[in-house]
Symmetry: C2
Subunit: 746 residues, 2 copies
C-alpha cells in the first residue's frame, strides 16, 4: 500500500474518512490491498488503479530514460513501472499485469508546466509522495509541483491533476509506450475532447501481423486555452531532402482539428491558470472503435466526478474481495492475502464494450456478447491454480471465461493458448485450455456448451496436421513423447499428458468410454521419458536414445535448455500432477520419491517464481507420514517470498498465478491436480477463512476453513463438518457441500 521508498506515508485512515458508507469500525478487505506489491523483483504488476477485470487501467510509467536502472529498451522488460526507478514520463491508460513480455503501456498522459515540451526524455520528472491503494494512485511530480491522482472504472481511466498558478499542460503522448509496436492516429475534436487510436501488439515479439488498435476518447473537465498536436517525423533521404528545411524535425500543429497519424505523435492541452487549479481527464477505451470508446466513457463516467468513480470502483473491489473473509491473521498477512486476491481479479479482463461489442479473434469481425467477453488468457500459467480459484470463488466469471474461450474456438477454429485482446500469441507450450474447462466443468460449472467444448478439446488433441496448439502431435501420439526435434520436448510431453488426463476425465463424465481409455493411456506416456538412473525425466533424441550430454541442473533462470521450457529437469521431474502415484511407483516407492523431492529443495533447484514446480511443496502430502513437510514447506515459502513490499512477489505474477498460489496456500488448501476436482490440505494461515459461495453454482452459502492452533506444530487432525477426514485430500464436492473444514494442529 505504501512505497518502500522514503516517500511520505499517508495515513491508512484516509479511506474511512472519505467513505462514510464503509464501516469505520473494521477495515474492509479492499483497504488491505497494496498495489505496490509486485512492482519490483520483476513481479510485473503495476501500482495504478483498475476496476475488477477492467479494460482500462492507469499506471505510472517510469521505464523510459537512462536515469532509470531498469530501462525498457535496454532489456526485456514487461512492465510500465518499476519501483526502484525514479524518472517518470507519464501515466499509461491500458496496461497488463504480471505478464512476461512488453505490450500495451500506451496512451500516455502527462501533466507539465511552463512551455510545452514534447520529448519525454526532457519533460520527465522525478516524483514523490506516492500513494497506491485499491482504485487509487497519487503522486507528486517534483519538477512541476503538480499532483496527479488516478482512478478508473471498468473501461475508463480518470485522472485528476492539481496544477500551480501559471501555464499548465496535459500531454497525451501516443509515441511513447511499453509495447514495441508503433503507430497512432489522433484528432482533437474540441477544446475538451480528443479521439484516436494507438497500435499495440507483437506480444513476445510474435505475430506482428496481428498488431491491433486500441481506440480512445479523452474528455477534459476544462476547455484548453490552447491545444495542439505534435509529430516526430522520420528523416527523409534522397534528392528532395535538400529542399526540406523541416527534415526529421518535430512538428507542432497548433489548435488543429485535423486527423494526424504517425509513429510518434501526441497532443497537448494547455491552460493559463491564475491560481492553483485542478483538471480532470477521463479516457474511455475500446478495442472496437472510437465511437464505442466514447460511449464507454459517457455511460460509465459521464456525469461522475473523480471521487464518484473512485468510490464506485472501490466498492466494487470491496465486494469482490469480500467473497473471502479472513480472520485472526496479522495485518501484514491480510495485506499480502487480499493483494494476492486482488491480483487474481485483474486478468482475464473485460474485452467487450458497454454495448457488448468486441473484436473477434484475428479481427475479421465484430462480435457482441450479453455477458462478458474475457481476454488475456495466459493459460500455461493460470490453468494451474488461478482458474481453479476462480471456479471456487467467482464461478460466474469462470463460466463467462469458458464461454469466451468457446467463442474463440468458434471464431478461430481453436481454443486459446495465450490470447491477448483477440490475438492468439501462441506463447509457451502445451494445450492448457482443456484443463481449465474440465476443471470448471467437474466442479459443477456447466452452463456452457459442454459438447462443443469437448469437441474443441478433441480437435487440438487429435488433429495431426496444421495444429497450432500441439506441435509435434504426430510424434507424441506415435511414441508417447516429443523428441528433441521439438523445443522443450520433455516439458511439452508433460503438458500434453496433463491435458490428455483432463480430457479423459471429461470423457468419462460424458460416458465416452473409448476416449476415456485412449486419453487415460496417453496421459501416462511421460513415463517413457523417465530415466531410472537419474530418477528424472530426460529428453530423447528422434531415434529414441537419451539426449547426451545431459545436465539436470542446466536451464535455470530461463536459459535455453534442450528438452525443457523455462526450467530444468528438476523443475519438471514431478510436473505430472495427475499421476504422482504412478511417478512414485516408477521411482521405486514413496521413500525414494520423497527423498528425490526433498533434493529439489535442498539443492536449491526449486523455483518459486515459475510455474512448472509451484505445486511441488504440496507433493509431500502424497507420502504418508510426511505431510508435515508440505505444511512446513508451504509456510516457509510464503514467509520467504511473499511480503508487503514492492518486491513481495517471488517473480512475475503471471497474470495472478503466483498470487493464486498464495491465496490458496494461505487458506490451507491447494488444487493439486488441475482438471481433477480435488484439493490437498495444509495449515491455513488465518484462524478462520470464510469463502462465500455463489448460489447459482453452489448449494451452500459459504464454506469455512478453521484453524485450531494449539502450537505451531504439525496437523494432528482434519475435520469436515466436525468429523475426522482421515486424509490430506478432499474432493471439491465434499468441500463445497460441507459447512466447516477444520485443521487441528499438534
Amino acid at each position: 500500500m505504501i512505497s518502500n521508498k522514503s516517500r511520505t506515508i499517508q495515513a491508512a485512515c484516509f479511506l474511512s474518512m472519505l467513505f462514510f458508507s464503509i464501516s469505520t469500525f473494521a477495515q474492509q478487505p479492499a483497504e488491505f490491498v497494496n498495489p505496490l506489491i509486485g512492482t519490483s523483483n520483476y513481479g510485473a504488476t503495476f501500482p495504478g488503479p483498475i476496476a475488477p477485470r477492467g479494460m482500462a487501467s492507469i499506471s505510472p510509467f517510469n521505464v523510459a530514460g537512462r536515469q532509470n536502472p531498469l530501462e525498457k529498451d535496454s532489456q526485456w522488460l514487461s512492465n510500465p513501472y518499476v519501483n526502484e526507478n525514479t524518472f517518470l514520463t507519464g501515466f499509461s491508460q491500458v496496461n497488463l499485469s504480471g505478464v512476461g513480455c512488453p505490450d500495451l503501456g500506451v496512451i500516455m498522459l502527462m501533466p507539465t508546466t511552463g512551455a510545452v515540451e514534447t520529448n519525454h526524455l526532457k519533460y520527465g520528472s522525478t516524483y514523490s509522495k506516492e500513494v497506491a491503494k485499491t482504485a487509487y494512485y497519487s503522486v507528486d511530480l517534483d519538477k512541476y509541483n503538480v499532483k496527479g491522482e488516478f482512478t478508473a472504472s471498468k473501461r475508463v481511466g480518470v485522472s485528476r491533476f492539481t496544477f500551480p498558478k501559471g501555464q499548465s499542460n496535459i500531454l497525451l503522448n501516443l509515441g511513447l509506450g511499453l509495447t514495441n509496436e508503433e503507430g497512432a492516429m489522433v484528432k482533437v475534436v474540441s477544446s475538451t475532447e480528443i479521439e484516436g487510436m494507438r497500435s499495440v501488439g507483437s506480444f513476445c515479439y510474435n505475430s506482428p501481423e496481428d498488431a491491433y488498435p486500441v481506440y480512445f476518447v479523452a474528455k477534459f473537465s476544462r476547455p484548453a486555452d490552447h491545444f495542439g498536436v505534435w509529430k516526430n517525423t522520420t528523416k527523409y533521404n534522397g534528392v528532395e531532402a535538400q529542399w526540406m528545411g523541416y527534415n526529421g524535425k518535430t512538428r507542432i500543429m497548433k489548435n488543429t482539428i485535423k486527423t494526424v497519424v504517425g509513429d510518434s505523435i501526441g497532443t497537448y492541452f494547455s491552460y493559463n491558470f491564475d491560481k492553483k487549479e485542478t483538471v480532470e481527464v477521463k479516457i474511455g477505451i475500446s478495442y472496437v472503435s472510437i465511437e464505442n470508446a466514447r460511449e464507454n466513457l459517457e455511460k460509465e463516467t459521464g456525469y461522475k466526478s473523480f471521487d464518484d468513480v473512485y468510490k464506485e470502483t472501490f466498492n466494487e473491489w470491496n465486494e469482490e474481495l469480500s467473497k473471502i473473509l479472513v480472520e485472526g491473521g496479522s495485518y501484514q498477512d491480510k495485506v499480502i492475502f487480499y493483494t494476492a486476491l486482488y491480483h487474481t481479479l485483474i486478468h482475464p479482463n473485460t474485452l467487450n464494450d458497454l454495448n457488448g461489442e468486441y473484436p473477434k479473434i484475428k479481427r475479421t469481425r465484430i462480435g457482441r456478447t450479453y455477458d462478458t467477453r474475457y481476454t488475456v488468457f495466459s493459460l500455461w500459467d493460470t490453468y494451474r491454480n488461478m482458474h481453479p480459484l476462480t471456479s471456487l470463488v467467482y464461478p460466474k466469471q469462470q463460466s463467462d471465461m469458458i464461454k469466451s474461450m468457446l467463442e474463440m474456438y468458434d471464431e478461430n477454429g481453436w481454443l486459446p493458448k495465450w490470447e491477448l485482446n483477440s490475438t492468439e500469441t501462441f506463447t509457451m507450450v502445451g494445450d492448457p485450455a482443456s484443463i481449465v474447462i474440465v476443471d470448471a466443468c467437474l466442479k459443477g460449472i456447466q452452463d456452457f456448451d459442454i459438447y462443443k467444448a469437448y469437441h474443441a478439446m478433441l480437435k487440438s488433441a487429435d488433429q495431426i496436421e496444421e495444429n497450432p496448439l500441439r506441435p509435434g502431435l504426430k510424434e507424441y501420439i506415435q511414441k508417447g513423447y516429443l523428441s528433441t526435434n521439438y523445443k522443450g520436448s520433455v516439458s511439452t510431453t508433460e503438458e500434453y499428458n496433463t491435458s490428455d488426463y483432463a480430457i479423459s476425465l471429461l470423457a468419462k463424465a460424458l460416458g465416452e468410454k473409448e476416449d476415456f481409455k485412449r486419453f487415460s493411456k496417453r496421459s501416462l506416456s511421460y513415463q517413457k521419458l523417465y530415466d531410472k538412473d537419474l530418477k528424472l525425466l530426460r529428453p530423447r533424441t528422434p531415434d529414441g536414445k537419451w539426449y547426451e550430454p545431459f545436465d539436470p541442473n542446466a536451464g535455470a533462470n530461463f536459459q535455453e535448455n534442450v528438452g525443457f521450457i523455462e526450467g530444468n529437469a528438476w523443475q519438471y521431474a514431478f510436473m505430472v500432477p495427475h499421476d504422482i502415484r504412478g511417478l512414485m511407483k516408477l521411482m521405486g516407492g514413496d521413500k525414494v520419491f520423497s527423498e528425490q523431492l526433498q533434493k529439489v529443495f535442498d539443492t536449491k533447484q526449486f523455483d518459486m517464481a515459475n510455474e512448472p514446480d509451484i505445486a511441488y511443496p504440496y507433493l509431500f502430502n502424497y507420502v504418508k507420514g510426511e505431510e508435515w513437510k508440505s505444511q512446513e514447506m508451504v509456510k516457509k515459502l510464503v514467509r520467504e517470498y511473499f511480503k508487503n513490499e514492492p518486491k513481495g512477489l517471488p517473480g512475475n505474477d503471471d497474470t495472478g498465478t503466483m498470487s493464486a498460489w498464495l491465496v490458496y496456500s494461505m487458506m490451507g488448501i491447494y488444487p493439486i491436480s488441475p482438471g481433477d476436482p480435488i484439493y490437498t490440505i495444509t495449515t491455513p494461515m488465518f484462524d478462520k477463512v470464510t469463502i462465500k459461495l455463489d448460489s447459482r453454482y453452489y448449494k451452500k452459502d459459504n464454506i469455512v476453513i478453521e484453524r485450531e492452533v494449539n502450537t505451531d506444530g504439525k496437523i494432528r487432525e482434519i475435520q469436515i463438518n466436525g468429523k475426522p477426514l482421515n486424509s490430506f485430500f478432499i474432493s471439491h464436492d465434499s468441500f463445497v457441500n460441507a459447512t466447516t473444514l477444520k485443521v487441528i494442529q499438534n
Copy 2:
C-alpha cells in the same frame, strides 16, 4: 485526346455511339478536349477524369520507378503523370493540375493479377492503348492483361477494371504518392468497403505543420473473396531488435477489419475469377471526415454505374464548355481551345462536401457553405487572366471564389495568396487577392461583402508589422520599393504596385478619395527602380544605390537572381500593366518603348512559360500604328507553343493560367491590365466566337466576336455593334453590353 506514342488510337466516334442523347450530327465542345495536352514539357496537367472544378480526380501515376526518365524522387517533379514515362504504378484519386510543387497524387488504386505483391516497384507495369477524353481515361496494363477505365463525379472517382480469368487483385496503396508527406490510416469495413485517410501537404516544402488529411471511402461492386492490409515497417534498432524476427519487414494482415496506421500501408482486395470479369470501385473523397467521404460517395454515385457517372460528368463538362462556342476554326484549333478552357475549369476547385462542410483555414474549425467553397488559389498566376476569364464566362463561380477568399480572411485574418485545401502555403510574392476581387467587382460581380473585401485589402496593404502577405511593406511604403534586403525586390515592388493600383480603383468606386489618391500614388513607385541607362527596372541596395554588378540577362530558367523572382530584368521590365503609358514616358516615348519591347522577343528573353511577361505580346497595342505587331506576335506564339499533343503547352499550366492566355488569345481579346475592366484586342482565331453571358450578372444573353477575314493580314477595323470602335481597347462594360465585336482584317 490521343497519346503521341505508338498506342492504339481509338476512334473519336466512340463517344457519339455511346451517348445517343448527345447530337450525333455535330461535335460537342466536350468532344474536343484532349486531356493529354500538357502532360509533357512540364505542363503538369494530368490526363485522367475530373468533373468541372471537382474535388476528386483520377490520374494514371507513372512517376515512380527508375524505368521512368522523369522519376518523382530524383528531381523536383510536380505531376503524377509524364507522357514520356512508361512504368505505371497506380491511379491516384486526388490530384493537382498545373502546379509547380509536388503534392496530392495519393490514394493509389492498382489492379494486378496473380499472387499479391505490395511493392510498387515490383507490381508496376508498362501500359498501352491509352485513351484520354473528357471525363474518361482508359489504359491497358501490359503485365496483367487488365483494362482500367476511369471516370469521376465531383467528389468521387470511379474505376472499372476488366480482369482476365484467375486471381485478380485491386490494391489501394496509401504509401506511394506524389506528395512528400507520409502517413495514412486504413480500415477495411467489409469485403466491399474500405475507409481511411492519407496525410498530404508541405506544398513546395513549406509549412509542414499544416500537412493535412484527405479522407476516403472506397466501395467495390463485388465482394472480395479475400482481402488484407499491408504495412511496411521501419527497422527497429536497439537491444530489442534482436528478438524481432519481423524487424523492418512488410506485414500482411489478412481479412482484418482493424484500423492500421503507418507511413507505408495499403490494402488489397482479391478475387478468384473463373472467367473475364469487371469490378467497379468508387472512391469518395472528403477533407473533413470519413463520414462525409461516405456521404459524398453515396449521394453522388450511390446507385449509378460507371457509364452513368461518365455520362453525367461528360454532360456537365459539355454544358460548361458550351459557354463559349467557336465556329470556323480548324479541328486542331478547336481541340487546343476547348482543352485550354477545360484546363481553366479545374482549379480553383470544390473543397466542401455535399453537406456543405469544409475545413476552415488552418483546420481549427469545420465550416459550412450553402454555395461552393473553393480551394487551390494559385493567385500569383491566376490573377493575370484566369480569374478575369472566369468573371466573364463563369461569373457565379467567380463570385463564389471571392466569397471563399473572404471566408479565408474571416478564418485566418488574411486574404489568400497561394491557398491549397485550406492551408496557406505563402508561395510566390505579391498580394494578388485584391486584384482578383477588384477586377471582378468592377466587372459587375458585386454580390459579396465589398466593404469587408476592401478592408481586407487595406489590411494587407497597410499593416506594417507581422504581415505575412507583404513582407518588406515598411520599406516599400517609405522608399517606394523593396531593396535587395528582400528576395525578388524588383518583382515584388511591381506586384505591390499592381495590387495598390487595383485598390485605388476600388477606393475610387467606393468614393474613398484619400485612399484613392494614396494608392494611386503608391502604384507608380516602381518608377524609382527605373534605370534610365539600361531602360530596365533594376534592384537597389538598402542604401539606395543600384545593385552591382547587374546582368539583365541573368535569371532565366528559374535561376536565382537578385531582384527578380522566376525571371530576369527583361521579363519584368514591362510588368506594370496599369501604367504602360507612364513607363513609355519614362523610356522616352512610344518609339523607344516599342524598340525595347521588341528587343525582349528578338533577344529571346521572352518566356512564354511563365507569368511575368505573358502580357508582353499585347503591349504593342499601346503604340499607335504598331498594333499589328501584337496581332502577329500573339498568333505566332499560339502556333509555336500550343499544340494538340502532350507537349502542347509552353510549360507549367499554372492552374490554368497558360490555358486562359490561350483562350483569350484565340478569342482575340485580352485582359491587359488585371483589376482594370478593359480588354485589348487582337485577331480572333475563329470566324465566330459566341460567349454566353450569365443573366444573373449580365444583361445580354451573349456577345459575339466575329472575324471578317479578307486576307491573313493586319486588323483594318474593329466594329462594335457594326460601328467603328477606333481603338484596340474596349471596356468590359462596352463589351458585354454589345451584341457583336467584329474584327476586320486587311
